[in-house]
């Protein structure tokens, strides 16, 4: 198939494949949901990549050893449509104590009270779109634009492990204590990351997530 390593390979329905150095391709798909869809499709199609990494608007195919691997990734991406539905993922429930330090601030932002925040957050079925920042830290999509939350102007030097937090239209749960600028809504005792577990990341990309008040 025709391929040009120097230029982005534009496609009619808006997916672009851009070279990311000689051994990787970056697919630009425009949204986190589309990125997740393409990543799951590519895994199912056994893309010859060492890493398939969905992110906010892209999917990285890294570790493409030769021209053949590049060509196969091009074919797999061509065969995927951004309109294809996500395969149903497993649903994980996260028991949550809604006592985050930013709960009242969120209530003000959303024009409601604490109960209103808990109700709205608990009603959403989130989907783990991608992981990053730390092992097992999943960017959960599902918060509508109207409830988008600005990050803190000054990040906290230490956010405790298990903190459930919001930023922009993302929800996340901190797997380990770390600095962080997301707004804290609550906390959970569930282990998000355990390297000794068969599935070390509880919220691997594609997992559906519900927060249940505790």
């Amino acid at each position: 198939m025709a391929r040009n390593d120097d230029d982005a390979d534009a496609r009619a329905d808006g997916v672009r494949l851009v070279p990311f150095g000689p051994g990787a391709l970056l697919a630009e798909v425009g949204s986190a949901d589309a990125a997740l869809g393409l990543a799951l499709h590519a895994r199912a199609a056994r893309a010859p990549a060492r890493e398939v990494v969905p992110a906010a608007t892209t999917v990285l195919f890294d570790g493409l050893d030769d021209a053949r691997a590049h060509a196969v990734v091009h074919e797999i991406v061509s065969a995927w449509s951004p309109r294809s539905a996500l395969p149903p993922g497993e649903t994980v429930e996260i028991p949550t104590a809604y006592d985050g330090a930013d709960l009242d601030g969120l209530a003000d932002l959303w024009g409601t009270d604490r109960h209103g925040v808990i109700e709205r957050h608990g009603a959403i079925e989130f989907v783990s779109a991608f992981c990053g920042f730390a092992p097992g830290f999943a960017y959960l999509s599902g918060l509508p634009e109207g409830l988008a939350v600005p990050r803190l102007a000054t990040p906290r030097p230490r956010v405790p492990a298990g903190s459930v937090a919001l930023a922009d239209t993302w929800c996340g749960v901190y797997p380990t204590a770390s600095p962080g600028g997301w707004r804290l809504i609550g906390r959970t005792d569930v282990a998000l990351w355990d390297a000794a577990r068969e599935r070390p990341a509880l919220l691997a990309p594609g997992t559906r997530v519900r927060f249940v008040p505790r």
Binding site: E51, D62, C131, F133, P135, G136, A204
Partner: protein
């Protein structure tokens, strides 16, 4: 393994970590790849001992190391050159060296370069984490950092040491780069500017990235880049305009635009550049 088949770490200078070829296939879970930074040097150490290339060894940064051998084994030191002493007697760098049981091994500070590799016949048999014995210093996945008092189990020797192997130190020279996916976020001549500038290695360089000082690159696209997957060797440009070459422990996703990607062959140079040394880029 008997209790004696161990090394007892007596003293470390700088950062000392257990490394192997790294942890592949977990970037989508946010797990950095990790693994030795100067791959040719690390592999040479294993070859000298007849080890499997996937075996684990120690990456010793700048400051040297002292340890007590619980069992007799062949060892090899490669990478940054340094004094190698067994019970005070000077031994070779880049060759197989016999380390008797009970002997004290001392690696001096790096004389050139940054990272020396200390391999042992049979490899280090620390517990693997997610299929690898490499220590990731970003999220600390893998064996803990090696500190004084640590006891490291040794694997069973598999082959005989070789008498010779070609010692090929990292040659100085520019880092060859390929255009990055976000080169268009910078002024049109950004890649030329990158390649025309002499930078200097910044002291806060580490296993996550090679940082440099010098003339900043100018961005023409404002705003934030949505986080995207990152590759080894990616030349990321944060808001201060100073490029950072991502190394083995880099975060799996990043939000700074990548102007170029360093060729994998030149990553060993990145591993051995000392703070303050000049660093230049060239188009691959």
């Amino acid at each position: 393994m008997s209790a004696a088949d161990t090394w007892e770490i007596l003293e470390v200078g700088g950062l000392v970590t257990v490394q192997d070829a790294g942890r592949a296939g977990l970037a989508h879970l946010g797990v950095p790849h990790a693994g030795w930074l100067d791959a040719p040097a690390a592999r040479r150490a294993h070859r000298l001992l007849g080890n499997h290339e996937s075996a684990a060894l120690l990456e010793v940064t700048l400051g040297g190391l002292r340890l007590r051998a619980g069992a007799a084994r062949w060892i090899a030191v490669t990478g940054a050159s340094c004094e190698v002493r067994v019970d005070g007697v000077a031994r070779g760098h880049g060759v197989a060296v016999w380390l008797p049981a009970g002997a004290e091994l001392r690696l001096g500070p790096a004389l050139d370069g940054v990272r020396s590799y200390l391999a042992v016949s049979g490899g280090l048999d620390v517990e693997p984490v997610l299929g690898s014995r490499a220590t990731d210093t970003l999220a600390w996945v893998g064996p803990p950092r090696v500190t004084a008092g640590a006891v490291l189990p040794l694997g069973r020797p598999a082959g005989a040491p070789r008498a010779v192997d070609v010692h090929r130190p990292v040659r100085p020279g520019p880092l060859r780069v390929h255009p990055g996916p976000r080169a268009d976020w910078f002024a049109p001549d950004a890649l030329d500017r990158l390649c025309a500038t002499t930078y200097h290695v910044a002291p806060d360089s580490d296993r996550i990235g090679l940082r440099v000082t010098g003339a900043p690159l100018t961005r023409v696209v404002e705003g934030e880049l949505a986080s995207e997957g990152m590759v080894l060797g990616a030349v990321q440009v944060p808001p201060d305009g100073l490029p950072v070459v991502l190394l083995a422990d880099h975060p799996t996703t990043g939000g700074y635009p990548v102007v170029a990607v360093v060729d994998v062959v030149d990553l060993a140079r990145c591993a051995q550049l000392r703070p303050g040394e000049p660093v230049e880029f060239r188009r691959a």
